[in-house]
């Protein structure tokens, strides 16, 4: 009964979504305000409806309704309740519903704003949202139905929403298959929703951009409206990516955080254009330039979101991440094609009207450096895109399957990321409009000197690896140059307002959240770079089989195998095999670690959980490996020493703080808006 109810509400939402789209367009045609208002209300209605449908699904999940095929596939009796709720996005059908729910939520949120100044955008924003939502609902209603159930028809189990023939009866399995054990981890709970939040949020700026193209209002109004949306979308996407990395590191057991897997890259690509977009819109706001380019960027970002979602869900890419083969592939393909073609067509049509009048004064001005930043991001995008697409091309043209793996990506993107680090250091020191080598040089020479000295010290004390040294030099440059900016700003404020250092610093940051939030984000990126350099360039690993009492040596560490225990936990349907090892560094006893292997009976899958010891200096990361059968007589361990890796996580926490800080409205937001729209004056480096 519940399943039918949930499905019925979903079908209703689908119909209402189509209604809102059709009526919005018709309202424009007939210039009827009441029709557009009706469309707006219809769109608002979709959110409560889809929420009801989602709540119904959650109810079914939590209450073990295994006759519903989705519930069977992603839950089992042994799973705790909170995991059953998060199983909502644990499979294709449920996660499509989750997507739709988020989409409805965001479009409703945007529809609730004050439209007085932008009333001509409204119908087109509704239309774009309606088309996207209608597409997802269409796929759910007809092809990936989370409410579909099992029926017994002449002794066979058949899947169908409604009774297939009159003699069929509901078939309820005793237990579900259970969520893939890899997904039963806190990181895995937040990672997909974060990513989806990021993906779906980008629909809003995209919708406004399309509305701007259609209506011809190609000034930067659409950017101003969606500025916060773009920032929050970027926040969620960034965080989703970082969480994915952390989860991979903690749980997947290969001592790494990023595998350059095609599906990972599919989520990474919109982040690249999203970051370029974030910077590029600042140029449009401050100098009125790059209107065309910003349109290209937001269309690219959204297209990559949809394209990436399609690649992951359709089975085109084979990956550890992808969903099972699904019939939605061709329809999704159609949607991707439509989105691409329609957006590009509209953009080309309006290209003239997007031309900007201001020109650039200097190659070292902030605009120019931002453009270089964009070039580098697009460069990384091209490397990633080609790496994902080429295997498909090769298979089609030559019939031979190839793998494009980490060596390609690391070699190609390394220099580009280094370039971005360098830009992060010098761009904040450049001025809008005018900068020369002298002004930039004056601002940065102290930081260059300090970074250089630091690098020399590292050369003698830490490493002679030239790539590492270059990386550390650039990181230091970012840290010194950005801190210098904080310092300079605080000192001049101190003098001007006669405040003490910390008050001045605090006020400085509060009154210019975007700028200083941005600086904090840059610093956090530099910290993350430290972690990446450490683990990529200095990772040590070893593997060996030892008997109890014997030790494996790696670097300064000695890992001694003590004992092993194996036991079942029937309530969780799991078998734990846990080893106890003693850890020594330079002969000093540090403690014990417990690497283990979890075997989940219901899903017949194994997870290797490392024993980790994390410090600022490095991570000692121990895996129990089953190359040989594991026993108390002898066990095989794989040990990684990952230097500096925790800076990656520290940096990401600071990153989170930085974005929230930057996105929070200033006290002077109103005045800022007033000033910016009424003057495009030359400003110096001090904003």
């Amino acid at each position: 009964m519940f399943a039918e109810f949930g499905y019925g509400v979903l079908v209703l939402s689908f119909i209402i979504t189509i209604y809102s789209g059709v009526v919005a367009v018709s309202g424009v045609r007939r210039k009827s305000v009441s029709l557009i208002e009706s469309a707006r209300r219809a769109q608002l209605l979709t959110f409560p409806l889809i929420s009801i449908s989602s709540l119904t699904l959650i109810y079914l999940l939590v209450n073990n309704h295994f006759e519903v095929s989705f519930v069977y596939e992603v839950t089992s009796l042994s799973m705790p309740t909170y995991l059953k709720i998060t199983a909502w996005w644990g499979g294709q059908a449920g996660s499509m519903l989750f997507w739709s729910w988020l989409l409805a939520a965001f479009t409703s949120l945007v529809t609730l704003r004050n439209w007085d100044r932008d009333i001509e955008f409204l119908p087109w924003v509704i239309l774009v949202s309606a088309i996207t939502l209608a597409f997802f609902l269409f796929m759910i209603v007809f092809y990936e139905n989370p409410f579909s159930r099992y029926w017994l028809v002449a002794g066979n189990v058949v899947e169908s929403m409604f009774k297939p023939i009159s003699q069929a009866t509901i078939f309820t399995p005793d237990n579900g298959r259970g969520l893939n054990p890899l997904l039963r981890h806190p990181g895995m709970i937040i990672h997909p929703p974060m990513l989806y939040l990021g993906f779906v949020s980008y629909v809003i700026p995209y919708a406004f951009a399309i509305a701007a193209l259609i209506t011809g209002r190609t000034d930067d109004r659409w950017i101003r409206i969606t500025r916060r949306w773009s920032l929050w979308a970027w926040l969620f996407l960034s965080f989703g990516l970082v969480l994915g990395g952390r989860w991979a590191y903690d749980v997947l057991g290969w001592g790494g955080y990023w595998g350059w897997d095609p599906v990972e890259i599919a989520a990474f690509m919109p982040w690249l254009t999203g970051t370029a977009f974030l910077h590029s819109v600042m140029i449009q706001e401050k100098r009125g330039m790059l209107k065309q380019w910003n349109m290209v960027l937001i269309i690219l970002t959204y297209a990559l979101v949809i394209f990436g979602t399609f690649l992951t869900r359709s089975g085109v890419l084979s990956s550890v991440h992808s969903f099972a083969n699904s019939p939605i592939g061709p329809y999704f393909m159609g949607f991707v094609s439509f989105t691409l073609i329609a957006s590009v067509y509209l953009l080309i049509r309006r290209w003239n009207d997007l031309r900007s009048e201001t020109e650039m004064k200097s190659v070292l001005s902030r605009e120019a450096l931002f453009l270089l930043n964009n070039l580098l991001f697009i460069g990384i995008l091209i490397v990633c895109f080609w790496g994902v697409i080429y295997p498909l091309v090769s298979e089609l043209v030559t019939g031979s399957k190839v793998t494009v793996g980490p060596p390609y990506y690391e070699r190609a993107t390394g220099p580009l990321f280094a370039g971005l680090l360098f830009l992060m250091a010098i761009a904040p020191l450049s001025a809008w409009g005018h900068s020369t080598l002298q002004t930039l040089g004056k601002a940065i020479w102290k930081s260059i000197l300090a970074s250089f000295i630091l690098t020399i010290i590292l050369f003698f004390t830490y490493t002679q690896n030239p790539y590492a040294l270059l990386g550390f030099f650039l990181v230091a440059l970012v840290l010194f140059a950005t801190s210098h900016e904080f310092w300079r700003g605080t000192r001049s404020r101190q003098k001007a307002k006669n405040e003490n250092f910390f008050t001045a610093l605090s006020n400085l940051m509060m009154r210019n959240r975007r700028r200083y939030g941005g600086y904090i984000i840059h610093i956090s990126m530099a910290l993350m770079a430290i972690g990446i350099l450490g683990i990529e360039l200095f990772q040590k690993e070893t593997q060996g089989t030892v008997a109890a009492g014997e030790a494996l040596i790696i670097g300064d560490y000695s890992v001694e195998y003590r004992e092993l225990a194996s036991w079942d936990v029937p309530s969780d349907d799991v078998n734990y095999t846990r080893a106890v090892v003693d850890v020594y560094k330079n002969g000093i006893y540090l403690g014990q670690l417990y690497p283990r292997i979890d075997y989940f009976y219901d899903a017949e899958q194994t997870m290797t959980i490392p024993g980790q010891r994390s410090t600022i200096r490095d991570d000692l990361y121990i895996l129990l490996v089953d190359w040989q059968p594991v026993s108390s007589v002898g066990a095989t361990f794989k040990i990684y020493v990952n230097p500096l890796v925790n800076w990656l996580w520290i940096g990401s926490l600071l990153f989170l703080f930085g974005i929230i800080f930057a996105a929070w409205p200033d006290k002077e937001t109103q005045q800022e808006n007033f000033k910016s729209t009424h003057s495009v004056s030359q400003t110096s480096a001090a904003d």
Binding site: L311, I348, E357
Partner: protein, 185 residues
């Protein structure tokens, strides 16, 4: 002097490049998608003249490499298996029995899918298999047949046309026999 900024549309050649790129991308992805959705090849498909390099000791009439054309006029039963494939073991004995039963009138070929030679030989010895067997080098055969897993068996008639596909292990010798009898007149 007043600023006369030229209002130019996107140059035609750039437009052509953009549309060509989009078309190319959609074609590549679309074709790959349809390939993935195709599933394995179906009965009625004519097969290209594939070849199989055989393990030492599993030659066919002294030849260490055979092609489909070598067997024109005979039914060919091509079985994909692997030593690490547990279900394959269920049918191994039946396949060998069928090979012996037809005594060369029906050709049985074993294609070892993504396996290692030592393990493969152990498997073949374990089930005392004597019909021609070889590794699916470079996974070319399995890609050609677009198999979805192992074991899978493909029945090819005397004219080189695929007429039956069996996914999964055979339950009995009779099952194999009945499929062969369909074409053995």
């Amino acid at each position: 002097m007043s600023e006369i900024v030229e209002r130019k549309s996107v140059p035609l050649w750039i437009q052509i490049i953009i549309w060509l790129f989009i078309a190319g991308l959609l074609v590549v992805v679309g074709t790959t998608l349809s390939k993935r959705q195709q599933g394995s090849i179906r009965p009625g498909d004519k097969l290209p003249d594939f070849s199989l390099t055989l393990f030492n000791g599993y030659e066919f009439e002294e030849q260490s490499k055979v092609s489909l054309s070598d067997f024109a006029g005979k039914i060919v039963v091509l079985n994909f298996w692997a030593s690490w494939c547990k279900p394959c073991e269920q049918e191994a004995a039946e396949l060998e029995e069928a090979w012996k039963f037809y005594n060369g009138d029906v050709v049985f070929l074993g294609a070892d899918y993504v396996d290692t030679e030592p393990e493969a030989r152990t498997y073949l010895k374990k089930f005392q298999i004597t019909y021609p067997n070889g590794p699916d080098l470079r996974t070319e055969l399995s890609q050609m047949f677009r198999i979805t897993g192992v074991p899978e068996t493909y029945f090819i008639d005397q004219q080189g046309v695929l007429y039956y596909v069996k996914v999964g292990p055979f339950v009995s010798f009779d099952e194999i026999k009945s499929i062969i009898e369909q074409k053995l007149q």
